[in-house]
C-alpha cells in the first residue's frame, strides 16, 4: 500500500510541476492522472498493490467531497437571495447535459455499427 501511495503522490507532484512549468490551464492532479496512465501503458498494467490501493481510495471517493460541500455555510446569504435561479440552473442543466451526452453518443455509436 505504501509504495502505491507514494507512486500516486509522485505522479501528482510531477503533474503539479509540469502544469506550472508549462503554464497549462489544467490542475496538477489531472496531469498526474495522465502521467500515471502513460506509465501504465509502458509497464503494461498496474501491479496488484496499485490496483488494490486505488480501488480502496476510489471506493470512498464521495467522502473526499464533503469538506468542500460543507462550504455552503459561507454562502447561505447569496444562495438565499438567488435560490430559484441556482436551483433551476443546476437541475435543468444537469438533466440536459446527461440527456444530450447520452443521445449524441448513442447516435454516433449506432451509425458506426
Amino acid at each position: 500500500m505504501l509504495s502505491a501511495l507514494s507512486l500516486l503522490l509522485v505522479c501528482q507532484l510531477c503533474g503539479e510541476v509540469v502544469v506550472r512549468w508549462l503554464a497549462l490551464p489544467v490542475p496538477g492532479p489531472v496531469a498526474g492522472m495522465l502521467l500515471l496512465f502513460l506509465l501504465l501503458l509502458l509497464r503494461e498494467g498496474p501491479g496488484e498493490e496499485l490496483r488494490t490501493t486505488s480501488q480502496n481510495l476510489l471506493k470512498h471517493l464521495s467522502l473526499l467531497f464533503v469538506p468542500a460541500g460543507t462550504g455552503i455555510v459561507v454562502h447561505l446569504g447569496r444562495i438565499g437571495e438567488q435560490w430559484l435561479a441556482l436551483l433551476l440552473s443546476l437541475l435543468l442543466s444537469t438533466v440536459l447535459t446527461l440527456l444530450i451526452t447520452a443521445w449524441v453518443m448513442q447516435w454516433c455509436a449506432g451509425r458506426k455499427a
Binding site: 501511495l5 500516486l8 503522490l9 501528482q12 503533474g15 490551464p25 489544467v26 492532479p29 489531472v30 498526474g32 492522472m33 495522465l34 502521467l35 500515471l36 501504465l40 501503458l41 498494467g45 496499485l50 490501493t53 486505488s54 476510489l58 471506493k59 470512498h60 464521495s62 467522502l63 473526499l64 467531497f65 464533503v66 468542500a68 460541500g69 460543507t70 462550504g71 455552503i72 455555510v73 459561507v74 454562502h75 438567488q82 435561479a85 441556482l86 433551476l88 440552473s89 443546476l90 437541475l91 442543466s93 444537469t94 438533466v95 440536459l96 447535459t97 446527461l98 440527456l99 444530450i100 451526452t101 447520452a102 443521445w103 449524441v104 453518443m105 448513442q106 454516433c108 455509436a109 458506426k112
Partner: protein
C-alpha cells in the same frame, strides 16, 4: 482536578482533530443510512453528510475556516484519488479505443450544454454576474472548476459548493434519466454521468460496476480539460 468542560472545548475547537473526526463520523453515518435505504440515490451520502455538518457548525457557532483546518486532510486526498483514476481507465482502455468517435462527439456536446445551459437558465431567473460565473464550470471536478471560476470572475468557494450539488443531483437523477431516454449501454451511461457530474457521478458509477466507473472517470478528466480550455475563451460573451 478536572478542568471545566469549557476549557476542553476551547482546546478542541482550536485543533484540527475535531474537524477531521466529525467529517469522518458524519460520512460514516450518512453512508450507513445510504446502505440501509437500499442505496437509494436520494439518500446520497455526500448530501446527508454535508447537511449534518452544516447543521453542526451552525449549532456550535463554529466558523467554516476553523472546521476546514481539520477537514482539509480529507480534502487533500482528492488529489491522489484523481491520479488513481488512471487505473480503472487503463483497465477499460480497449473499450475506450473502440469508441473514440462517440466519446469525442458526446464530450463536446455535453461540455457545451453543461456550460451554456447553466449560465443562460441562471441569467433568465435573475442571477447576478458573480453567480453566473460561479455556475459556468459546475460540471467539472472541484479543483479545476475553482481555478476556472477565479479566472472568469466567479467565487471559487461558491463554485466548489455548486459543483458538489451538481454531482449529487446527477447521481440522484442519472439512472432515471437514462431509463427514460432508453440508453442502457453501461459505457454510455457512465460517460454521460462523468461529463455532467464529475467525481460524484463517478463515485455513483463505480458503485454500479467497474465499466461505468472507468468511463465516468475518463469523462470527468476529459471534460475538466475541455472546459478549462474552452470556457475562458467565451465566458465574457456568455456571462452578461
Amino acid at each position: 482536578m478536572t478542568p471545566p468542560i469549557g476549557e476542553i472545548w476551547v482546546y478542541l475547537s482550536a485543533s484540527p482533530l475535531l474537524g477531521l473526526t466529525v467529517t469522518l463520523l458524519a460520512y460514516q453515518a450518512a453512508h450507513w443510512l445510504y446502505v440501509r435505504s437500499g442505496q437509494r440515490p436520494l439518500a446520497n451520502p455526500v448530501l446527508i453528510a454535508v447537511a449534518m455538518l452544516a447543521t453542526l457548525l451552525w449549532l456550535t457557532g463554529t466558523a467554516y475556516e476553523t472546521y476546514f483546518a481539520g477537514a482539509q486532510f480529507v480534502h487533500f486526498l482528492l488529489g491522489p484519488a484523481t491520479v488513481a483514476l488512471a487505473v480503472p481507465l487503463y483497465t477499460q482502455f480497449k473499450r475506450v479505443r473502440s469508441m473514440l468517435l462517440p466519446i469525442s462527439a458526446g464530450l463536446l456536446a455535453g461540455s457545451l450544454t453543461a456550460i451554456i445551459s447553466a449560465v443562460l437558465i441562471a441569467r433568465l431567473f435573475g442571477a447576478d454576474l458573480a453567480t453566473q460565473a460561479s455556475l459556468a464550470p459546475k460540471s467539472v471536478t472541484t479543483p479545476i472548476a475553482m481555478g476556472i471560476a477565479e479566472q472568469i470572475g466567479g467565487l471559487p468557494s461558491l463554485t466548489a459548493v455548486l459543483v458538489i450539488f451538481t454531482g449529487v443531483l446527477g447521481a440522484i437523477v442519472g439512472g432515471r434519466i437514462f431509463r427514460l431516454a432508453g440508453v442502457s449501454d453501461p459505457a454510455i451511461c457512465g460517460f454521460s454521468l462523468g461529463v455532467a457530474s464529475h467525481g460524484i457521478g463517478t463515485a455513483r458509477a463505480f458503485q454500479q460496476d467497474e465499466q461505468r466507473g472507468a468511463f465516468a472517470a475518463l469523462a470527468m478528466g476529459l471534460n475538466g480539460l475541455l472546459t478549462a480550455l474552452l470556457l475562458p475563451v467565451f465566458a465574457g460573451w456568455l456571462i452578461q
